[in-house]
């Protein structure tokens, strides 16, 4: 389902209020995002490898640039403009895969900052031709980056939040129920059920009218 369809589905399932009082898209999007993030984590904890199915690929048409931070002496890539990641509790976090532009086997291994500092003079440094990548809040830093790969740029599979998707982007939602056997839609509606819609009618009223129950 594309992003706007997903939002529309939720919107139409919400309780109807009087004309002019409705849920803002931003409120619905944040509720959806919160639930999807929760489902991503649940999916990851159940099977770390399966989270790959929910990523969005970047750098396919134009490679993501790899830049040298001359002061720190490290290569890095910033996340594509306008995108952030959903953090997960492992080293890859929301950067599930980094690859060279030419897809030829695995070249990048995730590392954490601790490993990055400890790996100097290790066997790994001597025997491995793999490039380590460390996921930080605003960029991906590389260990052992080579000039040819840096010049060509990289591709990335990112787990991005719902709000970063374009209106017509396909959004894959893990349909993994929570402990109470409640799925995605019900989880979003549960969050929104305690939030009143906002009065959007320009009639200078300060209160939202709660709809009357239909008479039996």
């Amino acid at each position: 389902m594309i992003k706007q369809e997903l939002r529309s589905t939720i919107k139409n399932l919400l309780q109807k209020y009087t004309e002019g009082a409705e849920y803002h898209n931003e409120i619905i999007d944040r509720a959806i995002e919160r639930v999807i993030n929760q489902l991503y984590t649940a999916t990851f904890l159940a099977s770390p490898l399966s989270i790959q199915r929910y990523v969005k690929r970047f750098g396919g048409t134009t490679a993501i640039p790899v830049v040298l931070d001359a002061v720190a002496g490290i290569y890095y890539s910033s996340y594509p403009t306008g995108y952030s990641i959903v953090p997960l509790p492992d080293k890859s976090s929301g950067v599930r895969r980094v690859s060279t532009v030419a897809q030829a086997g695995i070249t990048f291994f995730p590392m954490d900052q601790r490993e990055l500092e400890l790996v100097n003079d290790s066997y790994f440094e001597n025997v491995s031709d793999k490039i380590g990548y460390v996921v930080t809040q605003d960029r991906v830093e590389y260990y052992g980056m080579t000039v040819p790969i840096a010049t060509a740029g990289v591709r990335m599979d990112l787990l991005i939040p719902f709000s970063d998707y374009g209106e017509n982007d396909e959004v894959l939602v893990p349909e993994i129920p929570d402990k109470s056997n409640i799925g995605f839609t019900d989880m979003v509606l549960t969050i929104l059920s305690v939030i009143q819609p906002i009065e959007t009618k320009d009639d200078n009223l300060t209160e939202t009218t709660v709809p009357q129950k239909p008479k039996q």
Binding site: P48, L49, D90, K91, S92, G105, I106, F108, F109, P110, M111, E115, V119, S122, Y123, F124, N126, V127, S128, D129, K130, G132
Partner: protein, 236 residues
């Protein structure tokens, strides 16, 4: 043509991740452990020693190669065959500096020729070697006696892990390396802790299998061995 007989460590690790359905999460750590196992293989199991032509200085000293972790033998050559040196622990293994120049103080026995008691009359048995050596691991030097200023052949074991270039190992030891990595993962993956003993046994079994294969003799080797110790006899 079949697959290559040699495989590099990177490929071993990536195949390991594939075979055991593991993510790349701990790939760096697995690579480190895999290299440790390769080192152990070279130290304890592998017959693959390095043969290197090496110079004996004018003082009769060999400087050990940087990657030498175990000594396997020191040889000169004679008629196309190797002649081994004999270990003699009591060779004086010090030198004396005069300014910046390293030399030997004969008064202290440094570089002195060893005298072997010999008998070439009745009662003379056995033999003595012309070439002796002693190893000073701390100084990473081999002191030789009976030969100087020449080139000999040193056989030694290394960690097997190349610091420049690709590290290759025999492909048939991959089950042993896999078992090692699985066993070692029990030290940082909490659910694996209870499996540790079983995993260690798996590794020991895999290592024994490799050792058996390496040390086993071929049919021809057995035949040669038997023929070398039997006498020809008339067959009727």
């Amino acid at each position: 043509m079949a697959t290559n007989a040699l495989i590099d460590i990177n490929t071993i690790v990536t195949r390991f991740l594939l075979k055991y359905k593991l993510s790349t999460e701990d790939a760096v750590i697995y690579t480190e452990h895999c290299a440790n196992c390769v080192r152990d293989f070279h130290l304890y199991d592998s017959p693959n020693v390095v043969s290197e032509k090496i110079a004996i200085s004018a003082l009769g000293i060999i400087e050990m190669p940087g990657d030498m972790v175990g000594f396997n033998g020191l040889f000169s050559t004679t008629e196309g065959e190797l002649w081994s040196f004999t270990e003699r622990d009591r060779i004086v293994n010090t030198t004396t500096f005069t300014g910046a120049v390293e030399g030997q103080d004969s008064a202290f026995g440094e570089g002195a020729v060893l005298n072997d008691p010999r008998s070439d009359t009745y009662g003379g048995l056995g033999g003595v070697n012309d070439y002796y050596y002693t190893i000073d691991w701390k100084a990473r030097r081999i002191f030789c006696e009976g030969i100087k200023s020449t080139t000999v052949l040193l056989r030694y074991t290394t960690s097997g892990v190349e610091t420049s270039g690709v590290t290759y190992v025999p492909e048939f030891i991959t089950p042993m390396l896999d078992a090692y990595m699985l066993w070692r993962s029990s030290y940082w993956i909490p659910p694996m802790v209870r499996e540790r003993e079983m995993l260690e046994k798996d590794y020991t079994k895999a290592e024994a299998k490799v050792r058996t294969l390496i040390n086993a003799m071929t049919a021809d080797q057995w035949r040669d061995l038997l023929l070398s110790i039997t006498s020809q006899a008339p067959i009727r």
